[in-house]
């Protein structure tokens, strides 16, 4: 829902890192998106094509690596993927679980020339 703000921050971050690396052109951006972050890749792609216009990142490919939501059971320490919003340990059926992955939202690397 908040892809506009997220994409703007991403473009700023990418341009800053590219400048630090004395890059002439950004060819690819590798993003890591957690399932829970609620960020929709297609929307990021769409906004990116508008926001990167006339920058060295214009035309860069955006690659998304998605991290599934994972939780750890506090009773038996089982780590499991949360599916269908089912926050229950599949081993011991405890509801006492903590989130361990799925909220990622970061730029892993950029490919430049």
């Amino acid at each position: 829902m908040h892809e506009l703000a997220v994409t703007q921050s991403m473009v700023n971050l990418v341009l800053e890192e590219a400048r630090k690396g004395n890059a002439r052109k950004v060819k690819k951006i590798n993003l890591v998106l957690g399932e829970l972050s609620g960020v929709v890749g297609d929307c990021v792609q769409f906004y990116f094509s508008l926001m990167s216009k006339d920058t060295i990142a214009e035309g860069a490919a955006v690659s998304f690596s998605t991290v599934p939501t994972q939780a750890r059971c506090r009773q038996c320490a089982k780590v499991f993927e949360v599916k269908e919003s089912d926050w229950i340990c599949p081993e011991c059926h405890s509801v006492s679980v903590e989130l361990v992955a799925g909220n990622e939202l970061f730029v892993e690397s950029i490919e430049v020339e």
Partner: protein
């Protein structure tokens, strides 16, 4: 050539939030970020909090809405300083907007700043504002399944307020089941059950607000190291990616 970045996309917002937090700590202002879906009773809880505490606590309010000054006017009638932020379409408040709003508030004369976020159970969770506590409101008519549909906010909250409990006889809301689900997902959250119509539960809520301010004040006075409740330094689920947690700063 590949350049490793490993930086959170929202790090610019996070840095701005840290600046807000440092300013507010230096002014000894305790800040709550109040989040819920539209119509859950954020403004009503703010008004109840002001009425319950204004003789003992100096309160300021930042109202966040996509448009209008309706909420700021309501709060202004209680004779407390209030600033309205209109996001003009954005579905959440950002730290830079709050930073600008802080410039218009008499921070030396405020003990508690209540920031009402834009009504939304999704996006506000991603954007830190510089708050000390995240307060999440869920109203009875919305249903007890919201914790499973919007786990991010529920897992982050420091306090969860179940509002409109006067409607429990008319709505299907399984309080024991909901409490069990919260305790499973978020053990630290304080849970309150209130009605802003009958005022049930407000006293208990107000007591917690006062004790939060007192604890925050104590920490500000004893400040020697980093802030006491770091503003979710590792957001739930962040940092588990090994490369990220070990390298990003």
């Amino acid at each position: 050539m590949e350049i490793e970045v490993l930086k959170d996309i929202l790090s610019a917002n996070d840095q701005m939030a840290e600046r807000n937090r440092a300013l507010l700590d230096s002014k000894k202002v305790t800040v709550f970020n109040i989040m819920s879906s539209p119509g859950s009773g954020k403004t009503s809880l703010i008004l109840e909090t002001i009425r319950a505490l204004k003789k003992q606590v100096r309160i300021g309010v930042i109202e966040g809405d996509i448009a209008s000054t309706i909420d700021a006017q309501k709060v202004g009638e209680e004779k407390v300083p209030v600033v309205q932020i209109n996001t003009g379409g954005e579905c959440h408040l950002e730290a830079s907007q709050v930073g600008r709003a802080l410039e218009s508030l008499p921070l030396d004369k405020i003990d508690l700043l209540l920031v009402e976020n834009v009504g939304n159970l999704v996006c506000p969770g991603e954007f830190k504002l510089g708050e000390h506590k995240k307060v999440l409101i869920l109203s009875v008519p919305e249903g007890d399944d919201k914790i499973h549909k919007y786990p991010l906010l529920f897992s982050m909250a420091d306090a969860i307020v179940i509002s409109k409990i006067d409607l429990l006889p008319y709505a299907r809301f399984d309080i024991p089941g909901f409490l069990k689900a919260i305790k499973g997902m978020n053990r630290k959250a304080k849970i309150f059950q209130v009605s802003c119509t009958t005022h049930e539960g407000i006293e208990e809520w107000a007591k917690w607000v006062r004790s939060s301010i007192a604890r925050q004040g104590q920490r500000s006075r004893n400040r020697s190291g980093p802030s006491e409740t770091p503003d979710c330094p590792v957001r739930p689920g962040r940092g588990i990616t090994p490369r990220y947690s070990s390298r990003a700063s």
